[in-house]
């Protein structure tokens, strides 16, 4: 028997090496995406200089790239602002949902609520988009008009609303879409808190409010991770945003007016961009910005999650 072991070990090694090509696909896809976006995006940066990232205008020219102006700033700023609005709205809702599911709901209701959140996460984003265009934007339109006539002196509400299609509408829709993702991250960490802490807190006579606050404080890194991962999600969402954001090349200074995001810019323009010299390259560059943003928020999020495991 003792002689047979090396052979077995060899077959295990073989199994390990046989799986490596498949296991590395995710790495290869990310590398390839990074390579393609860089290789295709850099010519735009070389030709137009940093202006392509800082200009706010978008004036394509079919014949002469010299005469065209491509500025990604409104789109990049739009992506950041819509994602920040989304996270700010989604965070209190997700935390409340966590407490509701984990602490308040009876166990049978808890199962139902959990599977409803799963359905929310799995619903195709285009369905959120048609709801945004068919319901959310129309009901927000009169509210925006009201905001403009009463608070119009503030820059945030100073612009003419166009039928409810705006940066704020996109942020709201994104907030709804990322709730299940923030919830999932926070819930998992909340559940992982050892029962002894809970018991100790309750034995001290703490009210539910007091000990929930205590437990939430313990998983602060997980909450930050949820925020980062939710931000990444919101920044990368495409079709739902493209339907409600208004697609106008404005800086997102006034949130009740139309704006644009990087992903909605790509969705709208990439298909015909090959008709304009260098426009496709500018869009690849925008994609690169989006990729770096997504990878950075994901990396920081994972880093935060490893800190939870150490602390709790």
């Amino acid at each position: 028997m003792a002689q047979k072991r090396p052979a077995e070990a060899r077959s295990d090694k073989l199994f390990y090496y046989a799986l490596i090509p498949f296991a590395s696909t995710a790495f290869l896809i990310i590398l390839l995406t990074l390579f393609v976006l860089t290789a295709k995006g850099l010519p735009a940066l070389e030709f137009y200089g940093l202006k392509v990232l800082t200009s706010t205008r978008w004036l394509p020219n079919e014949f002469d790239p010299e005469k065209a102006v491509y500025g990604l700033l409104p789109a990049i700023a739009g992506t950041l602002v819509t994602a920040i609005i989304a996270v700010v709205i989604a965070l209190p809702l997700s935390l409340s949902l966590t407490v509701l599911v984990e602490e308040l709901a009876p166990s049978r209701v808890r199962d139902i609520l959990s599977s409803l959140v799963d359905v929310m996460a799995g619903m195709p984003t285009i369905v959120y988009g048609v709801w945004g265009i068919g319901f959310l934007a129309p009901i927000l339109a009169p509210i925006y008009s009201g905001l403009q006539s009463t608070l119009g002196s503030l820059p945030l509400f100073s612009c003419e609303p166009t039928g409810g299609f705006s940066i704020l509408t996109a942020g709201l829709l994104l907030a709804i879409m990322i709730i299940p993702f923030i919830f999932a991250v926070v819930k998992e960490a909340y559940r992982a808190i050892p029962a002894t802490y809970r018991e100790a807190a309750l034995s001290l006579g703490m009210t539910r409010y007091e000990y929930t606050r205590l437990l939430m404080g313990m998983i602060k890194p997980a909450i930050i991770a949820g925020v980062l991962l939710g931000f990444g999600r919101a920044a990368s969402e495409t079709v739902a945003v493209a339907l409600v954001v208004g697609n106008a090349f404005n800086l997102p200074l006034c949130i009740i007016g139309p704006g644009i995001t990087v992903s909605s810019l790509i969705a709208n323009q990439f298909g015909e961009a090959n008709l304009y010299p260098l426009m496709q390259n500018v869009l690849y560059l925008g994609g690169l910005v989006l990729l770096v943003l997504g990878l950075a928020s994901n990396f920081l999020g994972i880093l935060m999650l490893t800190r939870v495991r150490v602390r709790v």
């Binding site: 995710a26 896809i29 976006l37 799995g122 195709p124 285009i126 369905v127 319901f135 539910r208 994901n298």
Partner: protein, 280 residues
């Protein structure tokens, strides 16, 4: 002092319940809206909704979404055939060699793939598949969808395998089975969880829009069954029709959105049935 604490607690409970339910409320309203606008559109179109291509824009007739349905069928079939075996092997690797440094790296990259905007996957496939092959095709769309589903299915499979008690693994290894054999036995025990992962992948293949924008080609009038020709997909049709000024196309988009919602909800109910019995 005591009273104030109780008051605070009551207020907190109330606020959390209201906000928590508010977080879930949009889901119901979305399903309601898609139903009340989608069902009348399908009824107006009649059976031709499922058998005809869309009518010309602005026409009195609606026509149907047959090419999109056919395209979505092919996309789901081909992308799951490509993506699910691949994702299963990745999940198997993550489970079986979880203590190795490489597996930890693979996990980070697989999780990162989740955060890559799906529209960039569309751009990637456009650049490395569509352009070299000289045109849009259903196959290119399926490759993009397979990439999108990979991290979802892989992490789900890994979790399913991980949920099998270690004693089974130890017993199999103790009998002298190789690790390859052992992990397949574990996969057999966790088959319902693994199947649930496959269903998640299927749901992604049905519902994703952005990866298809620059890959399948919106060939909306052809019922061409070849995967190497341009095709259409239900979510793509919804995206491109809902924002048009043509009333008949908008109605088709609502009808298609309803079909999509029902399909995805059905997958989720199936998932629920499958997973409920997996608890070991």
């Amino acid at each position: 002092m005591y009273k104030r604490r109780i008051m605070k607690d009551r207020l907190f409970t109330l606020a959390v319940s209201v906000l928590g339910l508010l977080a879930l409320a949009p889901l119901f309203h979305i399903i309601y809206t898609v139903t009340v606008r989608g069902v009348p559109a399908i009824l107006e179109a009649g059976p031709s909704f499922f058998t005809e291509p869309p009518a010309p824009p602005g026409s009195e007739r609606l026509g149907g979404i047959a090419p999109a349905l056919l395209g979505s069928f092919w996309l789901a079939l081909i992308s799951t055939m490509l993506g699910i075996p691949l994702a299963f092997l990745v999940g198997l690797f993550l489970y079986e060699f979880k203590e190795s440094r490489l597996a930890r790296l693979v996990r980070v990259f697989t999780m990162s793939l989740l955060e890559i905007p799906t529209i960039l996957v569309g751009m990637l496939v456009y650049t490395i598949v569509v352009i070299p092959l000289g045109g849009f095709s259903v196959a290119a769309g399926a490759i993009a969808l397979a990439i999108v589903m990979l991290p979802y299915v892989a992490t789900y499979v890994e979790r399913a395998l991980d949920s099998v008690p270690a004693t089974y693994r130890e017993a199999a290894l103790g009998l002298g089975l190789s690790r390859a054999r052992t992990s397949l036995i574990i996969a057999g025990i966790a088959r319902r969880g693994v199947l649930a992962g496959f269903l998640i992948g299927f749901a992604k293949a049905i519902g994703e829009t952005a990866p298809l924008l620059f890959t399948v080609g919106s060939a909306r009038n052809s019922l061409n069954p070849s995967p190497f020709e341009p095709g259409d997909a239900v979510p793509l049709l919804v995206f491109q029709f809902i924002a048009t000024p043509y009333e008949n196309w908008i109605k088709l988009a609502w009808g298609a959105a309803f079909v999509l919602t029902v399909t995805v909800l059905t997958v989720f109910i199936a998932l629920r049935v499958v997973v409920r019995e997996v608890r070991l």
